[in-house]
């Protein structure tokens, strides 16, 4: 069995940033394990621009953004294994992995960072009725086929779900010669970024139908038509509102789910709202020495935030490797209420946390001219007005360690959405 101080599962944006920061924090023995044939993760197929405004103050494509972190990993000589699948992680941080060259092997790590990313919700999970022909793709699968392999999955396209990948693929398919007929969205608001609706749909005259869903898929071998219908407030189709679109392709962009199989096998407790691990301020899970960051922790809107979060996970894992756990630290829970769906982290340790701690979350609906309010117990601490908040975009609150020091008997922190 091999030994490493730190094993990072996943060589996408989260894993790369975590590795770089852990090395910069003094950890020499690091191994990144990546299942694909190259580092970079899903960024390699995200060829649109708009990545890195926060991190590099310029707009990069996904592969360009990835290449900067890959270069940082290379400069530091951090070890990685490609084409290698992690099969299991035990709660005592034994990592079982497999590839062609080494076969199946075990690594004992002092700390593990989970950075496996997320996957797309499938047609089956959505339980859309109809036939099961070829031509139904998750938007990400279509994105890989078009952008990495140069193959077109279809000519006439209907898209269900207005998540960012769906919006981006509407434009990609259009530019590469396909006709995107409509984007249907179950919710009364889009799940994607506003800028993507402008640049990916409005620019090309592609209609977005909110409060609509797919009620039938026709075609025995290949998709021949898709029927969408309006849904009521209960999100059930309203009879008589059906519209049939002939098409050969249905793309699904209906949400992302953290890739949580390995988290589960390690005994990590998951948050049912995010489907990712429950973590504290240092991004450590309930299993000592196992940390999580990026989309496996909670699905992010911007890769810049993934990089920031992952860098923190790398630093914290380094801290743990060098100094061990502080198991006796006092914890304070963060309660998400009134429109705040969850928070990452779920709790903080006021004495141990960073001086400034970013708490990220998403809201459960569209809020106009509302405020994000932070309470220490019942006392209002901060209130920030936001013109628009929507579930497609992450929000944040920054907690100040010094300020928390003034509340030694604090029981809970509450974050809520309030009328402005």
């Amino acid at each position: 069995m091999k030994n490493y101080d730190l094993v990072i599962v996943g060589g996408g944006p989260a894993g790369l940033a975590a590795a770089v920061s852990a090395r910069d924090a003094g950890i020499e023995s690091i191994l990144i394990i990546e299942r694909d044939k190259e580092l970079g993760g899903i960024l390699n197929q995200c060829i649109h621009n708009g990545f890195g405004l926060h991190t590099f103050q310029e707009e990069l494509t996904g592969p360009e953004y990835a290449s900067r972190f890959i270069a940082q990993v290379a400069e530091r000589g951090i070890a990685y294994k490609l084409n290698t699948m992690v099969m299991d992680i035990s709660s005592d941080k034994r990592v079982t992995a497999m590839n062609r060259e080494d076969g199946m092997f075990e690594i004992q790590a002092k700390a593990v960072i989970l950075a496996m990313g997320c996957r797309e919700r499938s047609r089956g999970a959505l339980n859309i009725p109809g036939f099961r022909p070829a031509g139904i793709f998750s938007a990400g699968t279509a994105q890989r086929l078009v952008n990495m392999e140069g193959y077109m999955p279809g000519r006439e396209v209907v898209i269900l779900g207005s998540g960012d990948i769906g919006l981006i693929m509407a434009r990609r398919m259009t530019l590469e010669g396909a006709k995107v007929k409509v984007v249907a969205e179950l919710m009364p608001y889009s799940g994607g970024l506003k800028r993507n609706i402008v640049q990916c749909l409005d620019d090309f005259g592609i209609p977005l139908k909110l409060s609509h869903t797919v009620v039938d898929i026709e075609g025995k071998k290949r998709v021949e038509a898709v029927t969408i219908a309006e849904v009521g407030p209960d999100r059930k189709p309203i009879p008589g509102t059906e519209e049939r679109y002939t098409c050969d392709t249905l793309l699904l962009s209906c949400g992302l789910i953290p890739e949580n199989e390995l988290s589960k096998s390690a005994g990590v407790t998951l948050n049912p709202v995010t489907s990712g691990p429950v973590v504290g301020d240092n991004l450590e899970t309930n299993v000592e020495g196992i940390f999580a960051c990026g989309n496996v922790l909670h699905v992010h809107d911007l890769v810049d935030y993934v990089s920031q979060e992952a860098a923190a996970a790398g630093r914290n894992a380094a801290q743990y490797i060098k100094n061990g756990a502080k198991t006796d630290a006092r914890t304070v829970e963060i309660l998400p209420v009134d429109g705040v769906r969850y928070t990452v982290p779920k709790f903080i340790r006021p004495q141990e946390m960073d001086d400034k701690l970013t708490v990220r979350f998403r809201v459960g609906g569209v809020y106009r001219n509302c405020s994000i309010a932070t309470y220490f117990d019942d006392e209002l601490i901060a209130r920030r007005k936001r013109p628009v908040m929507a579930p497609g975009e992450m929000e944040q609150v920054v907690l100040d360690k010094k300020k928390l020091g003034d509340y030694p008997n604090l029981n809970k922190i509450t974050i809520r959405i309030e009328e402005a």
């Binding site: 497999m98 009725p129 109809g130 999955p153």
Partner: protein, 483 residues
């Protein structure tokens, strides 16, 4: 001129082919779809019934009980995933428990072993998630679960190994009587080329279309109704919600639905039962899927329907006589029906194979082979090996070290095996049914581009000829900017 031509490579046609391949005879199987196991055999409850349900004295009763008894040996010989998990017919408090007594008596008469009625206490200890309304149940320990794909493929591959010819993508258009048998005019579904097969004996195992073929040669008309059954398949996380196959005691509300673990560790809920006009209507419906959720809760509580990973529909071939129709058509010598094979067809298939082989050998004296290969190895599952064995395998064949399907942890080695073996996979569904690659919770989102690459290489296929499930079902249709 073939001795025997079998129409249909479902579980029935394949079981018959395997039985007949024990004899020195030239045999062909003609299948319209691109793969074996592409009709009713691929979309059903995946159950080996105990045999208490069918009417006493019916073919269904006799062949089910016989088929069930044959499964242990067959599973061993042909490497079929099969497990006797036992079945329960649950009676709830608003139902008359006398219904269970009737089933018990029928089962005893049919020859089902070890049947007994259990009370709530025992039921609850066997199935903690049983409905709060369940008062008692009929317990059949011989009930089992099977992989219907592997069962069909095992029969077909073994028949192939023993010399049976399979013609896939070949659709029988018409059947004409000839001097010494029948001429089957076929069309290739892809090339549209016509070909005529001559055979002394024809076996009609054409599922929902068996009436069409019978009616081409016999004046004793059959009439088969396609009875649609919709199912939901749940994530492996839900696979232990029940451990037995849970049936519901039929009531005025209908036959109910079953909730069962599958041999692969998923949970299966279904089927609905709706007669449909179109024998190709394998679509699921909103009403059907909704009704499953409601009906399942009658026998099992808290079925985690949020963990559905896919839904599907299958068509049962219901003949008007309400029993299997097996035997030579009275006015068409040498034309043997295996028609109306609805539930318990999968359970009965091994016995149907025996029965039809016996009828054939009575009509056509055949000599048994001395070199019949009675066993077949399934696709090697590396997960069943120790780490040492697995590493030895990877050193010899590195493809076994390369995971392609991350949900089911299926390796490239298994996919290559599925493609290269007899009657190997040529489509994504073919790979999926043989290896489970793409059958997990992401439903092929991750592995399909990778599987396509392997198919392209191993089967020397053009990327544009790689389909989900045969002719007309291409995955990609052109290159960027060129469609």
């Amino acid at each position: 001129m073939y001795d025997v031509a079998i129409i249909g490579a479902g579980v029935v046609g394949s079981a018959i082919a395997r039985e007949l391949s024990k004899y020195q005879a030239s045999i062909c199987v003609i299948e319209r779809e691109e793969d074996v196991c592409s009709g009713t055999s691929k979309a059903n409850s995946a159950i080996i019934h105990a045999g208490f349900d069918a009417a006493c004295g019916s073919l269904k009763a006799r062949l089910n009980v016989r088929g069930n008894a044959m499964m242990d040996q067959l599973a061993k010989d042909l490497d079929i995933p099969f497990q006797r998990n036992g079945s329960l017919v649950v009676c709830t408090k608003e139902q008359d428990p006398a219904g269970l007594e009737t089933l018990l008596e029928k089962g005893k008469k049919n020859g089902v072993p070890d049947l007994r009625i259990i009370e709530r206490g025992e039921l609850l200890s066997m199935e903690p998630n049983i409905s709060d309304d369940a008062v008692c149940a009929l317990y059949a320990p011989t009930g089992g679960i099977v992989c219907p794909f592997h069962m069909t493929m095992a029969f077909a591959e073994n028949a192939y190994t023993n010399g049976v010819s399979f013609f896939l993508n070949t659709c029988v258009e018409s059947i004409a009587k000839t001097a010494d048998g029948y001429a089957l005019r076929t069309v290739h579904t892809d090339t549209k080329e016509a070909e005529t097969f001559e055979a002394k004996i024809v076996v009609n195992a054409a599922g929902v279309y068996a009436d069409t073929f019978n009616n081409m040669v016999s004046s004793h008309k059959l009439h088969i109704t396609a009875r649609k059954g919709e199912y939901c398949l749940l994530d492996k996380d839900a696979g232990t919600h029940v451990s037995h196959t849970i049936f519901q005691l039929p009531s005025k509300m209908g036959k109910g639905v079953l909730v069962t673990p599958t041999v692969h560790g998923n949970l299966l809920v279904g089927p609905t039962a709706v007669d449909v006009e179109d024998k190709e209507s394998l679509n699921t419906t909103q009403d059907g899927l909704d009704s499953l959720t409601a009906t399942a809760s009658r026998s099992v509580k808290n079925v985690p329907m949020r963990q559905v990973i896919t839904s599907f529909a299958g068509l049962r071939a219901h003949e008007d006589s309400d029993d299997f129709v097996i035997g030579e058509a009275a006015d068409a010598r040498g034309f043997i029906n295996a028609a109306g094979i609805e539930s318990p067809g999968l359970s009965s298939a091994p016995a149907i194979g025996e029965m039809v082989a016996e009828i054939v050998t009575q009509l056509l004296p055949l000599t048994e082979k001395s070199d019949f290969v009675s066993t077949r190895k399934g696709i090697l599952r590396p997960e069943t090996l120790s780490m040492e064995e697995r590493n030895r395998l990877i050193r010899e064949q590195p493809a076994y070290g390369n995971i392609i399907c991350r949900c089911e942890m299926i390796t490239e080695g298994e996919i290559i095996d599925a493609i290269r073996r007899p009657l190997g996979a040529r489509s994504l569904d073919g790979v999926k049914r043989r290896t489970r690659a793409g059958m997990g919770r992401c439903q092929a989102g991750f592995c399909s581009p990778r599987t396509m690459e392997i198919l392209e290489r191993e089967a020397s296929m053009s990327i544009y000829d790689i389909t989900k499930n045969g002719v007309g079902g291409a995955i990609v249709i052109g290159t960027n900017k060129e469609i």
